[in-house]
């Protein structure tokens, strides 16, 4: 088959994807998500009528689930920026099939993050006051400015690489229905001429350069909402960088999960290959390291200093009512580390006299973990939650060493990513709530926070909305950047050939050319 023919086959198959999507499973999930969002909207209307008193918020703990979700969704949104912009600028070829999904997650999670702020506001009807009379001295105005410009530019950044694909989709259509009209409108008269291509490349590069500092600023100012107050364990200089690292960490995890879903449900194993999961898992491990370093810095410095107000917050997290959230977070992250670390590689590099890794080889590490758990339990012997977490940790530890799990890069990446998402959401909890439960003037007394059904409904609705928006997007536009994948047609076989030469690469990564694979998969399905 000639290159041109191969290219047309890929274009045809990928462009047909949106039409093919929509089996029974798709619409069932679609309806379930719609229902959850409907429940969330009802809960919100209930809150509008009766005021925020229907939430679990109080005078001491006046920020809760909504603000945590806001921080979390903004964090998720960092997936797109990192993958797309940084990898584009550094010319990482393997990014090509990954960028579209990443950019879509970004745009949708920022939209949902915005709704979380609306849900938290006492007077959403006065939102425009922030625009007409915004005070530039307020961290919330920095938030408004950077988040809205981030939403705008990431939407543009999602749209720009879509233009050639939209034009392609339009040309593949046989009848002129509403789809044709939509594609025709959005394709901006794209004809694929050299001038147009040059302009598009230029625009994408410019956006990629601009969007990186913008994304860093977004999560930094989100952190500043907390850090600019004088509250213990909020008023800390590490908050900005720590939030940015946490954001990229959770964003990568979200991207891996969505990629796995797309790969499995659309049978795109030939395009979204194991190597993509492997690279992103490696990146996830790197960001685990960065996150862990930030956590150590924050907690060790605070704990060693021992200032009374800060110690009250610290002990509420580690030993008192927030132990469950805090230690589950730590266990999740520890699990991520154990799953993602390439133990076989470690064994090989250290020239350990072991052929394969078995659970018993990790026994010393496990003992070390348990010493830590016991030391903590000895401070609070009456806390059963800590015991539960400890046992869960043990089970997790054995699970991750199950050989069948370790053989699949995708399932390892997904299980690590799920742990990261849970862990990062719990981290948002243990940043926002514990500080509020221990006010600076101690006489006010300790606050407590239990979310109500309204907050839980709206939270689930938020997660569902990200999913629903993504599903609608997948029904309209290709989830793989067709023109970018085709552009690298010549490069990819070379890269793959080069990679397969290395003896260190597992057999599962030694693929043939992209085109043959995708053809095979498609014809099988």
């Amino acid at each position: 088959m000639s290159n041109e023919m191969q290219r047309q086959v890929i274009e045809g198959q990928l462009a047909a994807m949106p039409e093919e999507i929509g089996g029974k499973g798709f619409w069932t999930i679609f309806c379930i998500l719609l229902f959850i969002i409907g429940a969330g909207i009802c809960a919100y209307l209930y809150q509008v009528v009766y005021g925020l008193t229907v939430t679990g918020l109080s005078h001491t703990v006046f920020w809760g689930f909504y603000i945590m979700n806001f921080v979390f969704f903004i964090g998720i949104s960092h997936a797109g920026t990192l993958i797309s912009a940084i990898l584009r600028l550094t010319g990482a070829e393997w990014r090509r099939p990954v960028t579209r999904v990443a950019e879509a997650i970004t745009a949708f999670s920022i939209m949902v993050a915005g709704t979380m702020i609306l849900a938290d506001m006492g007077r959403p009807d006065r939102l425009l006051n922030m625009i007409s009379h915004g005070r530039v001295q307020s961290p919330l105005l920095w938030d408004l400015l950077s988040v809205s410009s981030y939403l705008f530019s990431s939407s543009v950044y999602l749209f720009l690489p879509l233009i050639p694909d939209i034009a392609l989709m339009r040309d593949k259509l046989t009848s002129k229905g509403w789809r044709w009209a939509l594609y025709n409108l959005l394709s901006l008269n794209w004809k694929g001429t050299d001038v147009q291509r040059a302009r598009l490349e230029k625009a994408i590069s410019a956006m990629a350069i601009m969007i990186i500092p913008l994304a860093v600023s977004v999560h930094t100012v989100v952190a500043y909402v907390f850090a600019m107050t004088l509250r213990p364990m909020w008023h800390s200089t590490i908050m900005g960088p720590y939030f940015v690292i946490g954001a990229i960490f959770s964003g990568l995890a979200a991207l891996l999960i969505v990629m796995a879903i797309v790969q499995k449900s659309l049978r795109l194993e030939g395009v979204l290959k194991e190597i993509h999961f492997q690279y992103l898992s490696n990146l996830l491990l790197v960001f685990f390291g960065a996150w862990f370093y930030g956590t150590i810095c924050e907690y060790l410095v605070t704990g060693y200093g021992g200032a009374s107000a800060e110690m009250r917050v610290l002990s509420s997290k580690m030993l008192e009512e927030h132990t469950w959230m805090f230690w589950t977070m730590i266990f999740c992250m520890a699990g991520t580390f154990f799953i993602l670390t390439p133990w076989d590689w470690v064994v090989k590099r250290l020239r350990l006299p072991v052929a394969t890794v078995s659970p018993w080889h990790a026994f010393p590490l496990m003992v070390l973990g348990w010493v830590g758990v016991f030391m903590t339990i000895s401070f609070t012997p009456g806390n059963p939650l800590l015991w539960v977490s400890g046992v869960a940790y043990l089970i997790l530890f054995f699970l991750i060493l199950v050989p069948s799990l370790r053989q699949s890069t995708v399932s390892m990446a997904v299980s690590a990513s799920l742990l990261v998402l849970v862990g990062m959401w719990l981290e948002r909890y243990s940043i926002v709530v514990p500080t509020l439960t221990r006010p600076m003037l101690e006489y006010i007394g300790d606050g407590s926070y239990t979310p109500t059904w309204v907050e839980i409904c709206i939270t689930f609705a938020g997660f569902s909305a990200v999913g629903l928006l993504f599903m609608i997007f997948s029904k309209l536009f290709p989830l793989i950047s067709i023109w970018e994948v085709c552009e690298a047609e010549e490069d990819i076989p070379a890269i793959v050939a080069k990679l397969t030469d290395e003896a260190t690469l597992p057999a599962s990564l030694q693929h043939g050319s992209l085109i043959n694979e995708s053809l095979e998969v498609k014809s099988n399905g």
Partner: protein, 307 residues
């Protein structure tokens, strides 16, 4: 053709009606009734002309009298030139009777349900000095003061460098020329950033529409002070702006049975507050935060009892 026209006419009317209905429903829903088009379009307090103010007062008076069945008088008496209000609290005389708390609630029309108290008196073991770590809000003996106890009331400190006004995203809270930190309840968006910034826990959010019994409501109200609050906004102690700008003491000062509370003009060298600053050893809460409160604490006499 005619049929077609009629059809489009109907659908257009339907669409318009639907849109209007939706708008009306949303206005009805948000703010449960206290949000009118006028209130929605209202300008910032500092941009209002005298005529605008008169109109707003009329609207508010109507709204309040409808709600409570009483005639209300809304004013916005402005700051007196050459006045900077300051407060001093004599810890040695405070007996922890909490009369100030309830006088404040009555004067300021703060919500009874959910309960909001601008002043909160706490009890400390006297041997510990003013150690707020060991303070308790929920003391409840048959008789106060108890021996070996110090009482310390905390309310808005009206800081010179107020962290709360610094972080407000909409200029809904600011320091008036006479040093009173106020909130425009018709401008606040309810983000609660000021509550996060305040180290004294002195700002209170109206989680629900404040409930006040009509027979308990104070009908003489100031726009920036004690007027009935809408739901979803932050409110706080205003040194009883409605009283002090017309030459009266705040309600808490007036009610205090032991004379522990002192109030006056910091710019007048002859005022009681200046004499206290001159002669007594005063301190402020959390001076290390550089908030520079205009609310001072002092001991006028020894505690008068052993530990």
């Amino acid at each position: 053709m005619a049929n077609k026209l009629r059809k489009t006419g109907i659908s257009r009317r339907k669409v318009l009606g639907g849109a209007l209905g939706l708008a009306a429903a949303s206005i009805g829903l948000s703010g449960c009734g206290d949000l009118s088009v006028d209130a929605f379009m209202q300008k910032h307090f500092k941009e209002l002309s005298q005529e605008d103010l008169a109109k707003i007062f009329k609207r508010l008076e109507e709204e309040y009298s409808k709600e409570f069945g009483k005639e209300f008088k809304v004013n916005a008496a402005s700051a007196i030139p050459g006045v900077l209000f300051g407060y001093a609290l004599d810890i040695s005389r405070c007996r922890g009777c909490r009369r100030c708390e309830y006088a404040c609630v009555k004067e300021n029309n703060t919500s009874r349900n959910p309960q909001i108290h601008y002043i909160r008196v706490s009890e400390i073991d006297a041997s510990k000095g003013v150690d707020l770590v060991h303070a308790r809000l929920d003391y409840n003996p048959a008789k106060v003061p108890e021996p070996g106890r110090t009482y310390i009331p905390v309310q808005c400190q009206h800081c010179r460098e107020a962290p709360c006004t610094k972080v407000c995203p909409t200029h809904a809270t600011w320091t008036e020329p006479d040093g009173i930190v106020v909130v425009d309840y018709n401008w606040c968006i309810g983000c609660r950033m000021c509550m996060a910034a305040c180290p004294y826990g002195a700002r209170f959010f109206n989680w629900a529409k404040p409930q006040i019994r009509p027979d308990e409501v104070n009908t003489d109200v100031h726009y920036l002070g004690n007027r009935p609050r809408p739901v979803g906004v932050v409110s706080k102690c205003s040194f009883c702006i409605n009283r002090v700008r017309r030459g009266r003491y705040p309600a808490c000062v007036e009610i205090c049975p032991s004379g522990a509370r002192k109030f006056g003009n910091l710019l007048d060298p002859e005022s009681e507050i200046r004499q206290i600053l001159l002669r007594k050893k005063v301190f402020v809460l959390q001076p290390e935060l550089n908030t520079q409160p205009k609310f001072y604490y002092f001991y006028s006499v020894g505690r008068g009892f052993d530990i």
